[in-house]
Structure formats: C-alpha cells, structure tokens
C-alpha cells in the first residue's frame, strides 16, 4: 500500500501523518466491507479479473470481515499513540522506517484476513512476519535483537511447515483456492497425503499463534519490542494466526469432519489449550517485568481461544471468536497503558510502579479496566467471552473444563492484582522524581480501547451477533 511512499518521505512527522491517514482509511474501508458482508453475505473479488480457481481471489465472509475490522481498528487506534511513544523509543533517523514496517505489517495481516487462496495467504503471512521481526528488533534493549532472531527462526519454521502442508494439499487436490479445496477435500481425505497436509498446517500455524508448547518465541519478543509494537502485535498477530487455523480447520477441511473423525486430535488441542492456560498464567504470576507478565498472559488467553475452537460446536466457536475480538481490545489497552508508564518512568517493572496510581491516575485507571476485563469481571468484554466459553463447555457436558476455565480466569486476577497493589496501595517511594501524566495523544487512544472494552462488555449484542453469525457460517460449511 503506502509503505514505499513512507520510505521516500523520510521525515518523521510527514511519515506519521501519512501512516495515520492510511490506517484510518483502511479502517473506514473495512467497516464498509463489514456492513456489506452483513447485508449481502460473503462476496468475492477476483484479482486481475481471473476467475477462481485459476486466478487468486479475495474472499470476504463474516469471520474475515470481523478480523479485518479488528486489525484495522487496532492499527488506527495505535497510530496517534505511536507518535509520542515512537519518538521516545526509536532513534529519530529510523522513525520513518518504523512507520514503513508498521504499514507493511498491517498490509500483511489484512491480506491474511481477506485472501481466499492458501498460497497467497503464505505470502501475506511472510510479509507480516518479516516486518514484525524488524519491528521487534527496533527495541532499545539489545535483547530485542535476540528476541527478534528467535522469532525469525521459529516463525520461519512455522511458515515453512505451513507451506509443506499447502504443497501436500495441492498434491492431493490440484487446487489452491480455499472454496475449491473445501469441495474437493472430502474425496481425498482418506489419502495419507491430505492428512499429512493437515498435520503440517496445524503445527505450522500453532507455532505462529503461540499455542503452548510452541510459544517460546513470544515472551521475549513482546517484552523487548517497542511499546507500540507490542500493543499492535499482541492485539493482532496471534489473532490472525488463530484466524488462519479457523480457516483451515473449518473452511478447508470443514466438509470432511476431520476432527470429529479423529477425536484424539481434538482432545490434544483441548489439552494443550488448557495446559497452556495454566502454565502460562502460573509463569505470569512470577514475572517482575509487566510486559513479560502480559506476554505470558497472552499465551494463556490464546489457550482460551483455542479451547473454544477445539470444542467444535457453534457455541464454542462463538466463544472463541468473540474472545478473539475481546482479547484484542483488552490486551491492546493493557499494553498501551504499560507503554504510557514506560514513556514516563522508562521502566516496566512492578517494583518501579509503586504509588503510580496517584501520579498517573488516568493511565492506571485504564490499566485496571483492561485488567478486570482480562479476568472476566461482569460489565467488561472479558466477561462476555468467558461466559460463552463456559456455556459452550457445559453444553458439551464438559463440567471439568468449565471449572478449569473459571479457575484459569481467577489466576489472571492474581497477577493483575500484583500490579494494582503496587500502583495503588504502596506509597510513592521517597525521593522519587515527580512523574507527570502521560501526554494527551497517548491517553486518548488508551481510553478509546478502554472505553471500547467496557462498551462492548455492557452492550455485547453487536459483537455477539457478528460472532454467532460468523461461527454459524463456519459450522454451516462443515455440514455436508
């Protein structure tokens, strides 16, 4: 899109203005597309006028439209915030490159949500991944470099696994178009080629979405990346990978009922999701660095989303999709709040945040809202999605799973509480320099996401309608 132009501009302010315009336009376009999908149903745009299955097509249905809105909304909300934060954290001569990479990453992520071709998806995946490695490497700390390197190795392995899977699917069916694959898949699913393809795809994407135990790249990458990057990637990158998995399981392999034929796969996914929730929450409790703590919490939340998906029911999938949306909002709020803290005090350790609730009241209040939402307190978005996940578990008769979801949410409370305690109940350390509230340009985006996570918690009907519609579409494709 506009990324190359940003390189040419080279001036930080001009680059920022252009990038902001582009993200806001993208947001407007995706809202329009969303409205169109809701009114008229899924539609297809063949690139270059070549009809599928020969040409590559963009295909947009409810799930895709929802993803599009999430990504572009986060992208555009983060942008005004980025200005102050980036100037603080990234050397001036590189600021324009930051915006370039940011836009490239956004392009890739949006492309993944909209494409209807499995190989095209790989290309977009690599666009977004390569640019996100660079974004992470822009962090001030030198450990950001190793974090980016590790992410690069793991990410490339994931992407290569994905492409092997695509190759095997192509061998079995002779097509790369998702809709076409879905119709051909039932006839070849008995072959080992197709099954091996599914296996490679699942493992590859699971690496990307940081499903426990394939999450090792994530904590460091999120901890040492610049605040803006963390907020953006945490809210979008793993979510997009989840979306890819949903696409593969339900759209491409949907008609084969593959997971119902192989219940062991389903239970493995569910087990990994649950173990991920508990291990990651447990590790998060003992972290001193808040960014790292939230990164582990991201892994736990991905576990919740996967749990919803692995239930293979409309209710479970609704829970998963809505948690995807809600968690994107919540995590964005939290990381933006931490970004404000980092902007003022230059550190993100719990010990450094003592008494901060009085010095930066607005920032910390937003953090508390985000935290409550992460726990799943009523009136916040987190409650809605946890509620649906529990409902789905009960619906399937999985009482222990429902109980574990509740316990897992309570674990969240423990680590969020540690921050709240430090910020509100500890006195300001003596001799500490006076700290001002974060600048307005950072507070406004922060409060937009915080307010959104309350608004969609109280009035969940819009998001719920979309999520239910989306999961019905997906499950509908599973029916023969």
């Amino acid at each position: 899109m506009a990324a190359p132009v940003v390189v040419l501009l080279r001036r930080p302010n001009a680059a920022w203005i252009l990038a902001t315009l582009v993200t806001w336009t993208a947001f407007a376009i995706s809202l329009t597309l969303m409205a169109q999908v809701l009114n008229e149903g899924a539609f297809v745009y063949p690139i270059g006028g070549w009809a599928a299955p020969w040409g590559i097509e963009y295909r947009l249905d409810r799930v895709g439209a929802l993803m599009l809105v999430i990504i572009s909304a986060i992208g555009s909300v983060v942008m005004p915030y980025a200005k102050a934060s980036v100037e603080k954290e990234i050397p001036r001569d590189r600021v324009y490159l930051f915006y370039t990479m940011y836009l490239l990453c956004l392009t890739g992520l949006l492309g993944i949500a909209i494409t209807g071709d499995v190989f095209n998806l790989f290309v977009f995946l690599e666009i977004s991944s390569l640019s996100s490695y660079v974004l992470i490497a822009l962090g001030r700390d030198r450990r950001a470099l190793t974090a980016a390197y590790r992410y690069l190795i793991m990410g490339t392995i994931g992407a290569t696994f994905y492409i092997i899977g695509v190759g095997l699917m192509y061998m079995a069916t002779g097509t790369l178009n998702m809709a076409d694959l879905a119709t051909l898949m039932p006839s070849v699913i008995d072959q080992r080629t197709a099954l091996a393809g599914l296996a490679f795809l699942t493992v590859g994407i699971s690496l990307k979405l940081a499903l426990f135990p394939l999450h090792l790249w994530l904590p460091n990458a999120y901890t040492y990346a610049p605040s803006v990057v963390t907020a953006f990637l945490a809210a979008t990158a793993t979510k997009v990978a989840v979306y890819m998995l949903i696409r593969i399981i339900f759209t491409v392999f949907g008609a084969t009922h593959i997971l119902e034929i192989l219940p062991s796969v389903q239970s493995i996914l569910m087990a990994f999701a649950l173990v991920g929730v508990f291990v990651a929450s447990g590790v998060a409790m003992f972290q001193d660095n808040i960014k790292r703590m939230l990164a582990y919490s991201s892994i736990a939340q991905v576990g919740f989303i996967m749990l919803g998906i692995s239930m293979l029911s409309t209710l479970g999938l609704t829970g998963g999709i809505i948690h995807l949306f809600n968690h994107a909002l919540t995590k964005c709020t939290l990381f933006l709040a931490i970004g404000c803290v980092a902007y003022r005090i230059g550190a993100t350790r719990i010990g450094d945040m003592e008494g901060l609730g009085r010095q930066m009241p607005w920032t910390m209040a937003a953090f508390v809202i985000g935290g409550l939402s992460l726990v799943g307190i009523p009136m916040t978005v987190g409650f809605v999605s946890k509620w649906y996940l529990v409902l789905a578990a009960l619906d399937k008769g999985l009482w222990p799973v429902a109980g574990l979801i509740v316990i897992g949410s309570l674990l969240t409370l423990i680590y969020i509480w540690r921050v709240v305690e430090a910020a509100y109940f500890k006195p300001v350390p003596e001799g500490a320099p006076a700290i001002e509230e974060a600048p307005l340009s950072m507070l406004i985006p922060l409060w937009v996401t915080a307010a959104a996570s309350i608004y969609f918690g109280i009035d969940a009907s819009h998001t719920l309608d979309i999520a239910i519609g989306a999961s019905e579409t997906l499950m509908g494709e599973t029916l023969p």
Binding site: P91, D93, R94, L97, F119, F122, V123, E126, L130, Y133, V134, A137, L138, R140, D141, R142, R143, L145, T146, A148, Y149, L152, I153, T156, I157, A159, T160, I163, I164, G167, Y170, M171, L176, A347, R349
Partner: protein
C-alpha cells in the same frame, strides 16, 4: 527398490528437511542456524518442484511437438517462496550482524549467559546505524 527409485526425489527431500531441521535445533551458532534454516527451506522447494514435474514433460510453452508438459504452477509458486526465503535469510543475517555488534558474539550459549547477567534494568545500547538491519 522400485519404491525407492520411484520416489527418489521425495526421499532426498525428507533427508534434507530433517538435516536442516536438526541443524536449526542443535546448532548454537546463529549463522549455522540460518544455514540449517536454508537447507530446510530448500528441501521444500525441491518438494514442490518434484511435485509439478511430469515424466517426459517439457516446459509449458506453445510450440510444435510439445504435448506433455510439466505443471507450471508449483514451479511459479516456488519462485515466490525462493524470494521469501532470500528475504528471510537476509533479515536473519542482518540481525546476526547486529547481535554481533551488540553482544560481541554469535554463540547462543554466550549470549544467553550475557542476557542472564542483565537481570538489572535494561541496559541501553546505542543502536548502530545499520541500514541493512532495518530493511
């Protein structure tokens, strides 16, 4: 024997794939890891190319006497994948250069040891101006 010869390409692919994968996991030198990653990716390229080849087929061009031709699509796809692979390698090597500048070593064990020492608040490293690393 027929089983082996008929699928010779695929055996090579699997051997290469496992070699590359093993190198990525087992090596502690960052450059060697990237070499492993490349071998891993190349095996996938080979896989796609063998897949599209039709026995006795030529390039898919219009011309006299050409009746059997190979499936061009996987070959085109892999052209894209090669480009992606080159980009990944470039980025990986660029990161390695910067890691070397920042840590003074590219052995993973030594870097881990250095990182553990930095349990204190983040040490700021002056980022070098390195155009290549940024791309």
């Amino acid at each position: 024997m027929e089983y082996f010869n008929g699928l010779f390409n695929y055996w090579v692919v699997i051997v290469l794939m496992m070699m590359g994968f093993y190198v990525v996991i087992a090596q502690h030198n960052l450059v060697k890891k990237i070499v492993g990653l490349n071998i891993f990716q190349v095996s996938v390229f080979l896989f796609y190319i063998s897949m599209g080849k039709v026995e006795g087929g030529t390039a898919p061009i219009l011309g006299d006497g050409i009746e059997i031709y190979s499936n061009p699509l996987p070959h085109v796809l892999i052209l894209t994948a090669i480009v992606v692979g080159v980009a990944t390698t470039a980025l990986g090597l660029a990161l390695t250069v910067r890691i070397h500048n920042a840590f003074g070593t590219i052995e993973e064990d030594e870097i881990n040891a250095l990182e553990d020492e930095e349990s204190a608040p983040a040490i700021l490293v002056e980022p070098e101006i390195d155009e290549e690393a940024i791309r």
